[in-house]
Amino acid sequence: MISKNKNSRCGKIKAWLHRVAGSRLGLDAAWVQKHIADCPKCRQRLALLGRVNLALSMIKSQPHSLDLLMRANAQAIGVLRHSLRYSPKAHRLKAVRPEPKLWERCRKYTHSVANAAACIAIVILMKTGIFSYMNNVQTQGRNVVKHYYAAQVGQDMADDMFST
């Protein structure tokens, strides 16, 4: 239990250190930007790294045809054992198409989920907080007025007035 707590604290500190180091030592840090503006060598180094990153992004952004997975599966299954080649799973794999990951599929629903959550939160707040508070105010006000009338015209009259 103690070691678990210690680990979680270590994790938090580690994340914090990354954040702080990133903000102070990262490329976006003000002093780094200032230095780069003044130093031609660093500017060149940065340009070279930028070229590698650009090439990597280009490679990542190149789309392949939709049936590539299907074709690759079919070709790979073709060289497997006879019993595997003709299994129902193999047939399914030969016709499979790339599908977005779960979080990518869920991304389009995030707005609706956020809206629904906000509505639910408002309803809960109204139900629990505001309405009960209003009720309290109303009953307290009623009691104060009842006391006032009881003092002025007598308890019986006040009971009669507030019983309806």
Partner: protein, 198 residues
């Protein structure tokens, strides 16, 4: 007596074939679970669909014949490393062939012809992009194995540093350091290539 032996043999054969089928079914399960990620990684390394299919086939063939058709302990690590190695070997072969073609086509007439052909195939900005990608692929094949593995798994397969560390059997911090070194080497080599082209 003979009939009894024959029937026992048949039952035994059936049992063996069934157990082999059962034991090899994980190959298809692996294909189902990791196929998409593998194809994406191979496509990014190779940039050619037929080569992707060939590398994918080689990877699963190696997996199916791994140590007497046994299932590897860390199957994801095995297939990603195998696929990456297969793809890089293919890329190296192709690059060597291209270099050979280029040395043959060093004559001015042939150069002019090739340049015209390339310009007809792609517009100028696309040509630059293709060239940049090819240069990066060539430089990746030149990287030392430990750096290349981290770069391909982190940047081309888009796995997290934790996953890369688990697959390669190194710590997360080491994976980060290796990636940084790989990028630095790539930057230097790509600059040299650019100067050589000019």
């Amino acid at each position: 007596m003979f009939d009894k032996t024959a029937s026992c043999g048949l039952i035994w054969d059936f049992a063996i074939s069934k157990s082999v089928d059962e034991s090899q079914r994980w190959v298809l399960s692996t294909m189902q679970r990791h196929g998409q990620e593998l194809v994406t990684m191979l496509w990014r390394i190779l940039g050619n669909e037929q080569d992707v299919c060939d590398a994918y086939q080689d990877t699963f063939l190696q997996l199916a014949h791994y140590q007497g058709r046994q299932k590897p302990e860390h199957i994801k690590a095995y297939i990603f490393r195998t696929a990456s190695n297969v793809a890089v070997s293919m890329l190296r072969r192709k690059m060597a062939e291209k270099r050979l073609c280029r040395t043959i086509a060093e004559k001015p007439d042939a150069r002019l012809y090739l340049a015209k052909q390339a310009q007809n195939a792609y517009p100028l900005n696309q040509l630059d992009s293709k060239h940049l990608q090819e240069t990066l692929r060539y430089c990746i094949t030149r990287l030392p194995e430990h750096l290349r593995n981290v770069l391909t798994l982190r940047d081309l397969a888009e796995l997290s540093y934790a996953q890369v560390g688990r697959i390669l059997g190194i710590s997360e911090g080491t994976a980060r350091v290796y990636r940084y070194k790989a990028i630095q080497l790539l930057a230097v080599w790509m600059n040299k290539e650019k100067k050589a082209d000019q």
